[in-house]
Symmetry: C2
Subunit: 358 residues, 2 copies
């Protein structure tokens, strides 16, 4: 009778509850409970799939939920449980294939694990901007963060991160301080150089990425090492900014050098530009010059000629990021260290033996 007495005045529909912030009414557990004739705790149990609820009761509750269009309120749930089931992804621009593909893989993996992904774009990759993003992130509802970005930009910002937010990094060499997941840049570059040397080229030129990029650095280093290891003389390192345009500019220079018969380009976009430059200058690919890229973007097979390149398994990178960050959250180890995802050489039509100089 206590219940009967309280029902109408405290929680009853008659009151026309105020509902401060939100516009649209949303049924709460209490509403469902009342309709189903059970306690709100029982509704909670059904909602969370706990055992110990009679099938009959469960059906009643489910029916009531359906009738009222009940949706659990995630804010309340997060408040109570102390976790948001959300992963933040902080990245500098979505203009590079790699970042996008990785992000997509992360989002898919996270969804699969029941986590949502909140995106934090950083317009300009300066420390200030990154710090700004992290500041926003702190106030945000995330349990963990994945950083797709060279980590040195993040160092100053890290201080501000709440201590319990776990971080996993892509594209960095900070394996000693963070948990890093990355493509095996070095292995891929070695494979590229060996492929070209194996075709008979005397040496291999390299068009690398921009200075700040860890991936670019790593690819350039491995290229250099592979040549030295094979007893060849590495030509001077050329640099682009990942864009097709920069590949074109470099290609114009390179086309003028008769002694250049093989180029390893640090990504497919630049390779595209390079192909255009070579074509314009009358240097045939692969007859006069062999070109190999990195990434294996979907368009690579439609380049002129179809591009030999190193396939990156972005999906795997994303998957591992999520896996690692969740493991860290659950304190199952893997606090630091680097996980490498292997690449795969895809041979198409842009590489061939060098022109016979006999």
């Amino acid at each position: 009778m206590d219940t009967a007495d309280r029902t109408p005045s405290v929680t009853g529909g008659g009151r026309g509850r105020p509902r401060a912030g939100a516009r649209g009414q949303t049924a709460s557990m209490a509403d469902v409970a009342r309709l189903a004739g059970v306690s709100s705790q029982t509704v909670s149990r059904v909602s969370n799939g706990y055992a110990g609820v009679t099938e009959e009761t469960r059906q009643q509750v489910l029916a009531a939920m359906k009738e009222l269009g009940y949706r659990p309120n995630s804010a309340a749930r997060a408040l109570k449980r102390g976790e948001f089931r959300t992963i933040g992804v902080i990245t500098f621009s979505l203009s590079t294939t790699g970042n996008v593909r990785t992000l997509e893989a992360i989002a898919n993996s996270a969804a699969h694990e029941g986590y949502a992904v909140t995106l934090l774009p950083v317009a300009v990759p300066t420390q200030d901007e990154v710090r700004g993003a992290f500041t926003r992130l702190e106030e945000l509802a995330v349990d963990a963060v994945i950083v797709i970005m060279e980590v040195h930009l993040l160092d100053a910002a890290t201080i501000a991160l709440p201590p319990h937010v776990q971080v996993v990094v892509v594209d960095s060499d900070a394996g000693d301080r963070y948990n890093v997941v990355d493509t095996d840049q070095a292995g891929g570059s070695r494979a590229a150089v060996r492929h070209l040397l194996g075709l008979g080229h005397g040496t291999v030129w390299h068009l690398g990425g921009p200075e700040g990029s860890f991936a670019a650095q790593r690819r350039a280093d491995a290229w250099h090492a592979a040549l030295v290891e094979a007893g060849r003389t590495p030509p001077p390192l050329l640099r682009g900014d990942w864009s097709a345009e920069s590949g074109y500019r470099t290609g114009l220079e390179l086309a003028a050098r008769e002694d250049c018969t093989a180029v390893f380009v640090a990504n497919d976009q630049m390779a595209l530009g390079l192909l255009r430059a070579l074509h314009e200058r009358g240097r045939r690919v692969p007859e006069d010059v062999s070109v190999i890229g990195f990434d294996d973007i979907p368009e690579a097979s439609s380049f002129l000629p179809p591009l030999t390149t190193l396939h990156q398994d972005f999906a795997e990178v994303g998957r591992l990021c999520v896996k690692n960050v969740l493991r860290k959250m659950r304190h199952e180890g893997a606090e630091r260290g680097t996980t490498l995802v292997p690449t795969r050489l895809v041979v198409r039509e842009s590489t061939a033996p060098p022109p016979s100089q006999a």
Copy 2:
């Protein structure tokens, strides 16, 4: 005295508060309030920048916040305020340039407005998948949703959406039921056709996108209409799936037709494949065949030859999406209707007058 009595046992530091869900301690308002010697409400006022707090008190509170590393708990805040300050973006794959660029613009605009963006990837564009995404979304902490996707896939799912969640759609013709923001597909296509006719071509072929796509449909319709309007006979419509590979396949067919001197391709990727096919078959671009694309992806200027195409202003589309959805949330109108963002013709080297057939 009641207060004095309760303080040590209820909120005092001595107890070592349990902190159920979360790992890392986070200072709460109460902690800050105690340290600063004020009430938690005053902390709230400082935290939210309300007037009516003495500068002196404010400084004390700020100092206490800093010392404790206080971060407002967004779950509690969301629960109290009834809003999450988060926008959900649901999209089918991030593999097309347009989607990615739009997403990026949305994220930037949202960040600018103080909103976070939660990503909801849909692996396969089936109704079931979309409905699944929406179900996840419902339980998610979002105030509004932007759908980057043909809307008919979403129809069945909409029912499940909580009524107060606003929706804005990209790439759809559902302007009568939703608020739609989109590139002016028709205007762009007309510009493409007119550009080619203006160069002297008798008619223009069209390689369109896949059946399900509204953008593809719209571009094809406008292409057809522009030709009819100019008194030309439209050739049969060809279809690809947006991929360079499909452009290549179509290109092989088209290369065999002597009467084809101009092709309007519905996106740049397919144009890339088409260029390769024409090249392989010895049809020169633009001397023998003119090709015009759509999108103006960054690589388009590095195609062989650099591609004439229609520039889409994705940044503007994203900005408008956010603007509209926020306006809807604030009930400032704009419930329905379509907003079109104009395109811009970028003339490069893939278009020229037709070969003289005299």
